[in-house]
């Protein structure tokens, strides 16, 4: 019984960290000014949050039931692999379809490069 309490505390720390990180990324999704900074907030912190949550679930099933879930490992690996790729492609599509940058932008090197061609 005593071990079970410790396992629950460890899993609870992982889950709370992951869900609060997802919540912070959602706040960034509301408050930041343009597409690129919103994508910066969403891709990094939401993917780290879901990785922590899935790792907490993996630890819970491993430590309480002794069930080694290969599907959760694959899920962690897949989210870790695909989240930056999705963010990169969306930013690239947004830039090529001429979505405006925010007014505080100082420098736009890619525009000079594309005009120079």
């Amino acid at each position: 019984m005593n071990e079970n309490v410790y396992i629950n505390i460890i899993v609870a720390i992982f889950l709370l960290f992951g869900t609060i990180l997802s919540f912070l990324s959602a706040i960034g999704l509301i408050r930041l000014p343009d597409v690129y900074s919103r994508s910066h907030a969403v891709s990094k912190s939401a993917s780290l949050g879901v990785l922590c949550t899935l790792f907490g679930a993996f630890l819970f099933f491993l430590l309480t039931d002794g069930y080694f879930s290969i599907r959760l490992i694959l899920g962690i690996f897949f989210v870790f692999l695909t989240s930056p790729v999705v963010s990169h492609l969306l930013n690239r599509a947004a830039y090529h379809s001429k979505v405006e940058l925010t007014k505080e932008t100082v420098q736009d090197d890619l525009k000079e490069f594309l005009e120079g061609e």
Binding site: F23, I27, V35, R38, A46, Y67, R71, V79, R92, S97
Partner: protein
């Protein structure tokens, strides 16, 4: 105690899905909306993980992988559509 804690985690995930839904409705450009939908998919993955701990079952762990793959494929298709106007390009025939 632990179950109430899981309910708090699910509450935070529901709040972040609501925030992403606000961005889907209001977002000024199309990539904003696609990005918010992808964020909803990621939050759903975490929600399924919390729910399968809450119900103490292994049966939903396939769903995590499935939502991840479907969200990835859908977002890639939308990104290609925004950038080039078509999702699958035809071969050029001379």
């Amino acid at each position: 105690m632990f179950d109430q804690f899981l309910l708090i985690c699910l509450f935070f995930l529901a709040l972040s899905i609501l925030a992403a839904l606000y961005r889907v409705i209001k977002g000024p450009s199309t990539p904003d909306r696609v990005m918010a939908l992808d964020n909803i998919g990621v939050n759903l993955i975490a929600g399924v993980a919390c729910l399968s701990i809450l119900l103490r079952t292994h049966a939903f762990l396939d769903i995590i992988l499935l939502i991840g793959i479907l969200s990835f494929v859908g977002t890639i298709a939308f990104a290609r559509f925004i950038e080039r106007g078509v999702v699958i390009e035809r071969k050029r025939v001379h």
